[in-house]
């Protein structure tokens, strides 16, 4: 078995971390550019090759049509759900999308879990390069307020990336775990997690027992579509209105110009976390230059409604935990958007204390995931997370009304049993519709799945089928049914409303093997080129220094021919051909290498004998 890691699959950035055995502390793993933040951006080049991260983000400016960001917003959602997002985000949705969204990327289209799998696979390769060992299992974090479909989509993404998902952990809970290691804390802790695309608030109780520490989530709430993206969009609205008014230029929200503007707006947003004012600059070609000074006060006025939106979930979570703000002992800030001074101030005022920000808000979730991964992997439990389900689970009853069977904020795993029977004579199937949400009517809640219970024809009301609904430790629903009259276990084939079924996953897994092969081939090409480079350099040097006494003219011609052939092979992407030419060159230089080796030896011996004199 390979190594196990913790992964924060974020809207804007994703990270991978592991538990360092020597220091006993979790650490993030850097990528090839030295940073441990992988931009959650995926692009495709002209040849259909997938590009992830920094390089893909650069392509947002040059090839926006072939690049996708913030795909987390689409996880576990249907086409009808995302109409609002489509007005703001340049997602290119495949017209053939049905219950599962498909996004066009070049000539192909992918589901959000497949796109997320590209990001996960990149992180996996970072970790494998770091450990020089395969990585095959992971703990992946999700927003606490993610529903069943969004969680399932994340789990599917892990599977498609070749990772066994040991556990999905809620992001704020993971952060609390990382903070708990950092500094022992007791009592009630509020974790305010304001990220790139999602907002979560979790209220935890930290308990010391004789066995170890327990992190018990009392309540959680949030908004899976509220984050730094919304702040960027508010700035974007402002800039576009002003550009329209001043220059008469209407910017296409899905064009590449907007991406350039977006980049400079994000830079301005970052600067305003430390500076009192900054400049937004955006060239408009012949029309001139949009230059705009923005002060922190103006920025704060602009984003105040967005920050205020985080307070409703915060109040609801506190109410569900049956606590007042004054009863919170510690508040912890997580997520990049908590770098904004207005956010810190708002949270501080609400909880009546200065919130903690000692740990890097971008890294803390991944660090916590690594801690949980280590606990599950090692089997040595030093602490225990008791998390909750964020939304009530219900089933549709007559008249489209929901009967709640597992209330929100129930500690998971949680279960409920319901008895079903027939309503008319000789009815052979009972429809069951499962939903998640807090509203009274089915139409206002999130449809999770439907299934049918089969029963032999009989008078109405005679059938007795017991259905057990169980939410596992990942927050994912399992359903089992039993016919109480025959004591037979029913096979329940659940058709997810917004997810992939097993057949689709299998097919994608097969496709992903192609990608894995492509990845493998690429790595081989890179390695072969590197090796060829060093052999060619060494041969050139040897030929240059070797006199005719060492290498014959014939030999020289043969070597130079092999070199030329290798250089030609290197221009292609066939690593096998490169390997052949490397071997051929090695064979051609065998004699030369031997002579040089002897020469070096005799020089060394001569040197020694000289010393002795």
């Amino acid at each position: 078995m390979g190594r196990v890691v913790g992964i924060d699959l974020g809207t804007t950035y994703s990270l991978v971390a592991y538990m360092d055995a020597q220091s006993g502390a979790p650490k993030t793993i850097p990528g090839p550019y030295g940073s441990s933040l992988l931009p959650s951006v995926v692009s495709v080049d002209a040849k259909g090759k997938i590009i992830v991260g920094e390089d893909a983000r650069d392509r947002l400016l040059t090839e926006p049509e072939l690049t996708i960001y913030s795909v987390k917003r689409l996880m576990g959602r249907g086409v009808a759900d995302i109409q609002d997002e489509l007005r703001i985000f340049p997602f290119r949705i495949d017209v053939k999308s049905d219950s599962v969204i498909r996004v066009n990327l070049g000539e192909k289209s992918f589901t959000p879990p497949e796109i997320s799998a590209f990001i996960l696979r990149e992180l996996k390769s970072w970790a494998e390069a770091y450990f020089k060992e395969p990585v095959d299992r992971a703990v992946i974090t999700v927003p606490a307020y993610f529903n069943d479909a969004q969680r399932q989509a994340t789990k599917d993404a892990g599977r498609l990336a070749g990772l066994e998902v040991l556990r999905l952990v809620n992001e704020p809970t993971a952060a609390a775990l990382a903070y708990g290691l950092h500094k022992q804390k007791r009592g009630h802790v509020a974790v305010y997690d304001f990220g790139g695309g999602t907002f979560d608030i979790s209220i935890l109780k930290l308990i010391s027992t004789t066995e170890g520490d327990i992190y018990q989530v009392l309540a959680t709430n949030g908004d899976t579509h509220l984050g730094g993206d919304d702040i960027d969009n508010a700035l974007m609205d402002l800039a576009r209105r002003e550009i329209q008014a001043k220059f008469g230029v209407e910017l296409d929200p899905r064009g590449e110009d907007v991406q350039t503007l977006r980049k400079s707006l994000i830079r301005a947003k970052h600067e305003l976390s430390s500076a009192q004012k900054t400049l937004i600059e955006y060239p408009l070609g012949a029309k001139g230059m949009y230059i705009r000074e923005i002060t922190r006060a103006e920025f704060e006025n602009l984003i105040r409604p967005i920050v205020a939106r985080t307070m409703t979930p915060a109040k609801l979570a506190l109410a569900d935990a049956k606590l007042t703000p004054a009863q919170i002992d510690e508040a912890v800030l997580v997520g990049g958007s908590t770098r904004i001074p207005l956010v810190q101030k708002t949270v501080g005022e609400f909880f009546e204390r200065t919130p903690h920000r000692e740990l890097d808000p971008d890294e803390v979730v991944a660090l916590g995931a690594a801690v949980q991964a280590d606990i599950l992997e090692s089997g040595v439990k030093t602490m225990l997370l008791l998390d909750v389900t964020p939304l009530s689970l219900g089933i549709e009853t007559m008249g489209g009304v929901i009967a709640k069977i597992i209330p929100r904020n129930s500690t998971i795993p949680a279960s409920a049993q319901e008895m079903f029977t027939t309503g008319v004579d000789n009815q052979t199937a009972i429809d069951v519709h499962i939903l998640q949400g807090e509203r009274e009517l089915a139409k206002d809640c999130r449809s999770l799945a439907r299934f049918q219970l089969k029963t032999p024809p009989a008078p109405a009301g005679l059938a007795r089928i017991e259905v057990k609904f169980l939410i596992d430790a990942n927050g994912i629903l399992q359903v089992a049914a039993k016919d109480l009259r025959t004591d037979e276990q029913h096979v329940v084939e659940v058709q997810p409303s917004y997810g992939l079924n097993d057949t689709e996953i299998e097919r994608m897994l097969e496709e992903s093997i192609d990608f894995a092969e492509q990845d493998f081939a690429e790595r081989q090409v890179i390695e072969a080129r590197t090796e060829a480079d060093s052999i060619l350099a060494a041969t050139d040097k040897a030929l240059k220094n070797a006199g005719s006494s060492v290498v014959t003219a014939e030999e020289r011609v043969a070597i130079e021919k092999s070199e030329a052939e290798l250089r030609t092979a290197m221009k292609g992407s066939d690593y096998k051909a490169m390997r052949e030419k490397i071997d051929a060159l090695n064979a051609a230089t065998e004699h030369l290498a031997e002579v040089l080796m002897n020469g070096a030896l005799s020089t060394a011996l001569k040197g020694k004998s000289l010393d002795e004199f």
Binding site: I207, A403, I471
Partner: protein
């Protein structure tokens, strides 16, 4: 047509006499005393028994919470990630039962409701709720005011006065709710005492029946208060 009947909370599982692993007789509640393996849930084990408690209605919250944490530490799926599928499922079953049991027993109201449901003495929602006779007059008056308020709202009449009257009435019923809760607590104490003194079946059933009646009254008043508050908010 889906027909969801009221839940009769029965702990699931199969009767256990010997350990699935070492075949020895199982003495512990959750684990085999001999080999330490987690055991399937026995049929008919109620939430009280799960916590090793008698079916008493007075439960010390801190003690219950401590027990919940202790059992969580032992039964949680985290402990069984590396175990086989069979044990993983047992952990899932046991830990979900633990969480369901704790959620139910920690609140006095859901605790007494559970006890009655478990003993098949209460089926909420099966009979249409009737106004308790002693409240009939007040309920009648309240409904009249509510009608007037709805009428005033649609016709654009005076709502402030009506709202004030309804507010006062809602407060009045809220106070009745507190009384009912006190009555329920007293009955609960009598039940506990009856268990302690080994009172006969008839006496215990009588107590349970009274508790069921009080619960019906409580849920009637609760719905009434909620309804009035909704109307006031809408006006």
């Amino acid at each position: 047509m889906p027909l969801s009947q009221p839940q009769t909370k029965r702990a699931e599982g199969v009767p256990v006499t010997s350990c699935w692993n070492c075949k020895g007789a199982v003495s512990g509640t959750h684990f085999c005393g001999a080999c330490g393996k987690i055991q399937p849930l026995p049929a008919g084990m109620d939430y009280f028994a799960f916590f090793g408690l008698p079916r008493k209605l007075t439960i010390e919250p801190a003690a219950l919470e401590g027990q919940f944490h202790m059992l969580s530490w032992k039964l949680h799926p985290d402990n069984f990630v590396r175990a086989g599928e069979f044990e993983r499922n047992l952990s899932l079953q046991r830990s979900s039962e633990l969480n369901d049991a704790y959620r139910t027993l920690r609140e006095p109201l859901s605790r007494v409701e559970y006890l009655l449901e478990f003993l098949n003495l209460r089926k909420e929602g099966t009979t249409k709720q009737q106004a308790p006779p002693e409240l009939l007059e007040e309920v009648f008056e309240l409904n009249e005011w509510l009608d007037e308020l709805r009428e005033a709202r649609t016709l654009g009449g005076e709502v402030v006065l009506l709202r004030g009257r309804l507010d006062a009435a809602a407060g009045n019923f809220q106070a009745k709710l507190t009384e009912v809760d006190a009555e329920l607590a007293a009955l609960g104490a009598q039940w506990d005492a009856a268990l302690d003194s080994g009172a006969d079946e008839a006496k215990r059933t009588a107590l349970l029946t009274r508790m069921s009646e009080v619960l019906n009254r409580r849920s009637y008043i609760r719905n009434l208060v909620d309804g009035v508050q909704q109307e006031i908010a809408a006006a």
